[in-house]
């Protein structure tokens, strides 16, 4: 789960990580009302869930309050990488003497948390990793011990010569780590972490992602979630026990199992078709789930044919077939459906489908080819 920069800043503030003052505004009127009436250097930043806002013109400086209102007006309503800007953060701009990067991330390889830090702040960390990886300091944090003060100091000492700044930075690292574990975060970045001319260390930008598997125990974090209409559909599907990701093609897929569902999408592409979605209905042959799944597929106006690919293990194919027939009776669509059933009770399942009057195949490959053929005949 992602959150906006301003929400990450609020979490930083809560944990005592210094950030410049700022306010979130949804309109020029709000900027007028909420931003203090003085003329100082501020930065107006688009609040959208993508990177590269600066390059897209979504980050502008303003020397006066009037300019801040003007810049807000320019940025609100902008389209940045397909997302419409509905709010901006208007924050005090600080003078920057030096910029650093610090970040925490879950590491699959060490099965723990990795702390990364670099004197190359204010630029894309992936770029630094690609071009000059030696400039990134990495440290593995023991998930049981957590980030110990001496470890935070060790990192800070490599970045800061001045002892006061070093201590400020070490304290920030410890607080960031605490925030990270308290909220079941999967990524937390401060980029840049800056030193101001009056020698203060502050977080100028922040990014945090959270482990979806832990949201059930993080209601405050969950309340920060903001989804696009497509993402809403995905979340809605999750709540029904389905996994759904919309794509751009015209062949809807319904599969049991995430790996098999990915392989099904891949196969459709391999044979020259375009999958309309990824949809994993999981291990249940519950008719209601099949109905929900068909509804999701049909509601996508691009879908010209549906491929159902079921490998029944514990799930019995005749149960799935009965569920499918129930679903198709309820939904009554003209969109052609190809059904492939294999595994436990496949013969019985295919018989039920044939009696219902629909085409059946016994291999995944045949199903993909047939679905592509049917989608073209709809043109």
């Amino acid at each position: 789960m992602k959150i906006h920069e301003f929400q990450a800043r609020n979490l930083f503030k809560e944990y005592g990580i210094p950030v410049p003052d700022g306010v979130v505004c949804h309109s020029e009127e709000e900027v007028k009302q909420c931003v203090p009436d003085d003329d100082r250097l501020r930065v107006v930043k688009a609040q959208v869930h993508v990177g590269g806002r600066g390059k897209a013109g979504g980050v502008k400086l303003a020397k006066t309050k009037a300019e801040a209102i003007e810049k807000a007006g320019e940025i609100l309503g902008m389209d940045i990488k397909g997302l419409k800007v509905e709010k901006v953060l208007v924050a005090d701009a600080v003078d920057i003497e030096k910029e650093f990067y610090v970040g925490l991330i879950n590491d699959r390889n060490t099965k723990s948390i990795t702390l990364m830090a670099s004197a190359e702040g204010g630029v894309e960390i992936e770029e630094v990793a690609r071009v000059s990886p030696e400039k990134i300091i990495k440290m593995t944090i023991d998930p049981v011990m957590g980030l110990m003060d001496w470890q935070a100091r060790k990192i800070a000492l490599q970045l800061f010569d001045d002892p006061k700044q070093m201590r400020q930075a070490a304290a920030i690292l410890v607080k960031l780590y605490q925030l990270y574990v308290d909220t079941d975060s999967s990524l937390a970045e401060i980029n840049p972490l800056v030193v101001t001319p009056d020698k203060k260390v502050m977080a100028i930008d922040g990014k945090m992602n959270f482990d979806d598997n832990a949201l059930y125990r993080q209601p405050d974090i969950l309340s920060l979630r903001e989804s696009t209409p497509d993402e809403e559909k995905e979340i809605d599907a999750n709540e029904k026990g389905l996994s759904y990701i919309k794509l751009d093609g015209n062949i809807g897929c319904m599969v049991n199992g995430a790996g098999l569902a990915m392989a099904t999408m891949d196969m459709i592409k391999l044979y020259g078709g375009e999958p309309a979605n990824f949809l994993d209905i999981g291990g249940s042959s519950n008719p209601q789930k099949v109905v929900e799944a068909m509804n999701i597929l049909i509601s996508d106006k691009n879908v010209k044919a549906v491929m159902i690919n079921i490998f029944g293990g514990i799930t019995r194919c005749d149960d799935v077939a009965r569920g499918l027939v129930t679903a198709l009776d309820e939904i009554k669509t003209n969109i052609p459906v190809v059904i492939r059933l294999s595994g436990t009770n496949a013969r019985e399942g295919l018989e039920i489908i044939r009696e219902y009057g629909l085409p059946t195949v016994s291999t995944m490959s045949e199903a993909a080819k047939k679905a592509i053929e049917l989608s073209r005949s709809q043109d």
Partner: protein, 290 residues
């Protein structure tokens, strides 16, 4: 002997009184797996499918000598269940549960390391040594005894591939589902090494997917350390970046973890990568000179 489990393995089921725990206990017993006990705190002294239920893993191990445990406990409690099994002296823990928070898996991993316990999963279908032992939810009827070792991040895709191998007379020595999570137990390299050292296994089929760099690491390991042939398949070539494709670990982040990179890594290690599951049996036969 195959790897990890055989007819002598004694298994307990954590979460045996739940719907899935009970159902799969019955299935495993039908297969011939030695299910010697189950755990359900507060229900000790009762019985499920003829199997005695205990309150704790420690009691179960003491009473039965169990050395493996399979976990059907809900996600919020699965991490704790793994740790309990580890502290009770279980050698091999298999966690079927999906949705376990990463933080919990990291903590559990520390305990596992400390106690020398092996883990498969979480979010996995389990493992099987055909004709000897089945632990988890894999459908028994598709498997056949043979010499092909399997390692897969997937569930039903594994069954699809196993089915094709069996139909082509390529039986399996052991098949291990390592699961779809980012932080898990035994992974590709751990199991490749075991298969390399297993006299019964002649070739390995590896089923990977997008997310992380385990396949790339496996490719390097195969190139440097393995003599036995490996055939691979990678799911998710058509997956869009930044999206979790069902499995928590199946996500392309910041441009890395793509199927292309994995396929390239295998090519460099001279490991053939099937373009679709149907190609796998042919590639295995080729590699074995059959």
């Amino acid at each position: 002997m195959s790897i990890l489990i055989n007819k002598d393995t004694k298994v307990i089921v954590q979460g045996i009184t739940g719907r899935d725990g009970g159902f799969h206990t019955k299935k495993m017993k039908e297969y011939g797996t030695q299910i010697v006990g189950g755990i359900s705190p507060g229900k000790g002294g009762t019985e499920v499918e003829g199997v005695p239920v205990f309150n704790t893993v420690e009691e179960a191990v003491s009473a039965t000598g169990a050395n493996a445990s399979v976990i059907f406990v809900p996600a919020p409690f699965a991490g704790d269940a793994i740790m309990e099994a580890s502290y009770a002296g279980i050698d091999l823990v298999i966690c079927i549960t999906e949705g376990v928070p990463v933080k919990d898996m990291m903590k559990a991993n520390s305990v596992l390391k400390q106690n020398g316990t092996k883990l498969i999963g979480a979010n996995c279908p389990g493992l099987i040594t055909p004709n000897e032992c089945l632990i988890g939810i894999l459908p028994a009827m598709i498997f056949k005894k043979g010499n092909i070792g399997l390692i897969s991040r997937s569930g039903t895709l594994t069954y699809e591939v196993v089915n094709m191998l069996t139909e082509n007379d390529l039986g399996q020595s052991t098949c291990v589902g390592i699961g779809g999570d980012p932080v898990s137990g035994l992974y590709f390299i751990d199991l490749l090494e075991m298969y390399e050292n297993d006299p019964e296994t002649k070739a390995v089929v590896l089923i990977g997917e997008i997310g992380g760099d385990a396949e790339e690491q496996a490719a390097r390991f195969i190139k440097e350390k393995m003599t036995k042939p490996v055939v691979a398949f990678i799911a998710g070539q058509s997956a869009p970046p930044g999206k979790r494709m069902g499995h928590a670990g199946a996500i392309i982040s910041s441009g890395s973890g793509t199927a292309e990179e994995k396929i390239k890594a295998f090519a460099e290690a001279e490991v053939p990568v099937a373009k679709e599951p149907g190609e796998i049996p042919g590639l295995v036969k080729q590699k074995l000179g059959l």
